[in-house]
């Protein structure tokens, strides 16, 4: 993977494009690390029984409307390509930015439809600073787009676009706190996590908002600096310098439509 463009204001802020040149290497990545992150969905279907039993359980009606919508949800979950985009983003961030995620555990915090309480990426990023490692909380949004236009709409769309979502993550203290607490609640506590968490809490609550925002755009199109440039320029004025702000575009050589089949090894 090579850097195809880069504009950085220090290590914590800037934007850059990363290009996967080799389709094979990309395939290999999504079949191994990315696939690992895509845990099987739990048996949501069992939940249908709970819906059927609603009247008995809580004395609310198990309406037709509820059941229809729930079935829709089940159908939809099975074909969620956005999850692969998010997994790619995490793998790349772990590889290139010393980020640590607990993907399998916190998957449900992410909502591609911009649920107001969640975020796509929640984890830690490590910076080396004067012989010590600084650990920061990382909050981020991931967008996947095949759109030809640059920047694609997923970056600029009102409310649901990456720019607005990152702004919201910056402005909404409560949301970040919820994400931190949710992360804490969902992860089986182990030493590594505890260390990361403790350090991140300290950094987070020191004077100035010390955490890292990441916006990752996964593209199956030609690399183009305009994908990130204007969004970054816009955001850097809103989000203060003390807060890390990195935008990354990952350009992959295989079309989005094929990712799922590759992961499921159908292409072989």
């Amino acid at each position: 993977m090579k850097i195809c463009y880069c504009n950085c204001d220090g290590i914590k802020r800037g934007y850059r494009g990363l290009l996967f040149e080799s389709p094979d290497k990309f395939k290999q990545m999504i079949c191994s690390e990315v696939k690992c992150k895509l845990r099987d969905e739990p048996q949501r279907k069992n939940m249908l029984d709970i819906l059927d039993n609603l009247k008995n359980d809580v004395n609310f009606e198990s309406s037709k409307c509820l059941k229809t919508d729930y079935q829709l949800l089940l159908d939809n979950v099975e074909s969620q390509n956005f999850r692969i985009g998010e997994a790619i983003a995490e793998v790349v961030l772990e590889d290139k930015f010393k980020c640590r995620f607990y993907w399998n555990e916190i998957r449900d915090a992410r909502n591609q439809k911009g649920n107001k309480t969640g975020a796509d990426l929640v984890g830690f990023i490590q910076y080396t600073k004067e012989n010590d490692n600084e650990i920061l909380f990382l909050f981020g949004e991931v967008k996947t787009s095949s759109e030809k236009k640059s920047p694609p709409q997923v970056m600029t769309q009102k409310n649901k676009g990456m720019a607005d979502q990152l702004k919201d993550l910056h402005l909404n203290n409560g949301k970040r706190l919820n994400l931190i607490c949710y992360l804490q609640s969902k992860i089986d506590i182990h030493e590594k996590f505890k260390q990361d968490f403790k350090k991140a809490v300290y950094s987070y609550y020191k004077p100035d908002d010390n955490y890292q925002l990441f916006g990752v755009l996964v593209r199956d199109t030609q690399e183009n600096e305009n994908d990130l440039k204007s969004v970054y320029e816009n955001l850097k004025n809103t989000i203060p310098k003390s807060t890390g702000l990195n935008l990354v575009a990952i350009y992959v050589p295989i079309k989005k439509a094929q990712w799922q089949d590759i992961i499921n090894e159908k292409m072989q």
């Binding site: 939940m47 009606e61 939809n76 706190l177 607490c181 809490v201 609550y205």
Partner: protein, 1049 residues
Amino acid sequence: MSMENKYKYLEDDFGDILGKISKHIQKAKISQRFDAINLSEEENEFLIKAKEICEIQINSLWHQRSSNEFLSYCLSYFDISSYFDYEIRNENDILEIFKIIIFGYLSEHSHFVRNFVISKINIDTVPVPDKWNLRLLYSIFKSVLYLIKKDNWKDISNVVDSINNLRSEQRKFEHNYLNQVREESQSYGVTELVSLYHFAKVVDILASYLLEGNPNDAENKIEYHFRVASEFAEISQNISLFLLYKYFKEFAIKLIRNTIWYNLKGVNHLVSMFNKFTTKKESGGIFELLYPQKHSLREGLLNPDKRSIVITLPTSSGKTLIAEYKILQALNNFKQRGGWVAYLVPTKSLINQVYSRLKQDFESLDLKVEKASGSIEIDGFEVGLVENKGDNTNFDVLVTTYEKMNLLVRQGLGTTDKRQLVLSIVDEAHNIGDSSRGLNLEMLLSTIKNDCSEVNFLLLTPDIPNSEEITEWLGGERGKVINLELDWWQPNERIIGALLLHGRGRNYDITLKTLNTTKGSFVIGEDIPIVNIENANENKSQLNSKIKISQLVTSKILNENFPIIVLAAEIGETFKIAEYLFENCQESFESDDEVELIRRFVRAELGDDFPLAKYLGKRIAIHHSAIPDEIRQLIEILMEKGKLKVLVATTTIAQGINFPVSTVIMGSYIYPFCGPMPTRDFWNMAGRVGRVGQESIGLVGISCRNEKDIRETAEYVQKATKVLLSQLEDIVNDLEQNSNAEFSSLLFRDERWSAILQYVSHLKTQITDLQEFINKLEQKLSDTLGYRQISNDKRKLLFRKLEEYAKSLSLQYAKWTDSTGFSTISVEQMIRNLNKTNLSIEQWKKEQLFSEQNQTLKNLVGIMLNTYEIKKPLEEIKIGNTSLDRNSLSRLIIYWVNGYKIPEIAKKLFVREEDSKAIELTSKALYKTITTFASWGISAIQKMPASGIDWEKMTEQEKKNLLNIPAYIYYGVNTDESVLMRKANVPRSIAKEVGEKYRQKFKDFYKHTTSEVLNCLKQRSFWTKIVPENSPLNEDEYFAIWKKLNYLE
């Protein structure tokens, strides 16, 4: 607990980020009380950070919820977050408030949570949006607020209705909502709804459980619904809801575990009946227990194996309920076999308070609650209490004072197999250490322990470091201490501070310097400006006394919306302070029917010139032992309802009074002639400030003249509570100096000897053989607390002295002692003096005795003035510096008994004094002294051999009539039926008229108990045509007053 300890974990773990956060939190707390204290933006930011950190830490410690660290973070979270104001604009606001409620509960401070909900959230204005998911969330939120507030069962019942209402609204709102969200968020909406339905069900379960303790498996059900709700919240990707459910589940379980149902199901039949009853009360229903109440049950309050339990608990921790459960347990076990319970209180007003509370709480359980008056004699209506050693009685609970119980038990009440005293509850049991009445209480408990073989003890007291010793004294190995003075739990919040004057000339200000204490009060570094005065009438140098500072401060903060108590050193001072406040209060008050009614009553009882009536016009009142009990009680009612601005009181107010106080201003903590108030008394009083149910942090301000005063005050409030010591040691110390003195001289020096001598003489009535008596003496002395506490040498000395006494003791004298409450030495002296008077039965006729021309009473007063136990208080009645002579004293009694009003008596006796001063002196003489001591003295004289009364030859009725003579003095009336009325709290000014009606209706009224009289008097017909001429009150108003006095409203 110091505040540093309260926030210790937060400060220790995050000091480098948050700095001295405990200071900021305390400042935030204090700023809620004082407008002059404001937090800077930076301080606010620190608090917001600290709050978030607390939540993160609470999460980290989620699996260690019983740890101190977890508790501390929950407490810190609650303290910080409850400082901010909240508007309910969106779901985030709701989630924030939910967290405050939940973490407050998890820190066991449900009472603070309730205050927070009541003071900061207007439940009725919480919106209920149309969008279905929000409608569910908002409605559930509202329901939870009602579950917290629950003024009575209706609030909870409304919650059930409200959840049912949501169910019926489902059809109307759900479809539209799902259609709407389908477009924008695919089908995540459906899972959110399902999760909310389960959440609603949980609230439904909580409401049912609070109401009736059902379903039995509520916790399992809650676990299930939250498991499902959480799963669906996750699928809907609503992590806020997921987190809320995680937290709320523990809150729900905590709430269940706080309920009376969870804590007391299956204990026994009476307890179950009581719980059903108490939850159905219109007001003051109890659904949840405070932490100390819960803790006392866990610690074995109801363990029948424990013979003596000492519960140390701070004021306002809900001790009456603890006592009630203990009573029910005792009665459940022993009622069928005639067992009964004594509830012993230190003051007459507490008799009324406790009696009416128990009567109301137990009436539906078919338990009979009675009270015996606070007089130290047994009147004609109470004689049944000791006839056949009380075997004819039928009450289940008797409420009375320590002194009265002493008389009753020594005459056999509670000692027989038929009517065993099975439980003695001693309220404010630290009075054992009281310098004047401590020995009496100690000897009472020793006597009960000796004479009542089935008795158990429950002692309720503020902090006693040696509580183990007390419980061991009464229960040996079967003693148990339940310490509810917990270092992390507080019933209320307060500041203790020094008030200091600054400035010069006529421009000065008063500031409050907050002081560190041993019992958790908030402190900030900066002084708080309280009052700023420019161009004052007085120069600063003229404000050279603590009292002047107190009254100045009070007059300046009078307008605040908090009731204030000003503590005065003595009765006279209360009038001075109240007068100053009255003169300086510019505010005019809207007329209030209740205040006006009580003002008129004061005028009816004490005359137009008694200044209290005018003070009340400006919402100022006085409270001390020279005010009639009824009026004190009515003032307390006004205070409780927040209708008074200031109450100027002596320290008697500290004992067990149940009204909210937000501010106490103390002229001094040093009693005149007695030195500093014992720290236990100080905290007993300070503990009432800012009590449960009050919104604002309380303030105790101690006036200081200079830096030296401040230093001394600071040291004083830091002092630890002292060990509870028997007064015996003090007496024996004196004996060491005067070991050869006669008992009469010892008694003359110190009337506390009387209690010891009476204890010994009571033993004599049980063991007639001299040698056996002497042999048993030491063993029985060892049954007292004091004997255990003093050194061997002192024991020997005391024993030798008492042995000497025992040898000279005759059985007859011992019996007289038992029936009179006077030592045999005094009895002997009385008899000697009586012999000189040649009394006959004729002279005991009330028309004779209380006739102004008759000399008999004068002679009897003369005898009383020579009786050690009552000599001193009678001599305290003075004109100027001269004590009243026996002539004046007997006139005072005669006027009083014959129904003269206080102003009339004042005019006759204190002719040279101004009207208001004369009234003050008269009421003080009567209410503080005559009612108690003269009635006691007369009652004793009646029983002496030379009294002219031959009890043996009298009919029962004649005996009763005669026994009521002392009661005439106690109540200030002159007929038997009016005595009965007074016992049922009928005001003195109409007792005669109401009594007459009662007598006409019930010829056999002598058989009536106080409870029966109370029930009858509820009929309005007794209250017609009873009003004296020119009375400021009409019939209805008298009736209303009477109902208030009996807490029948």
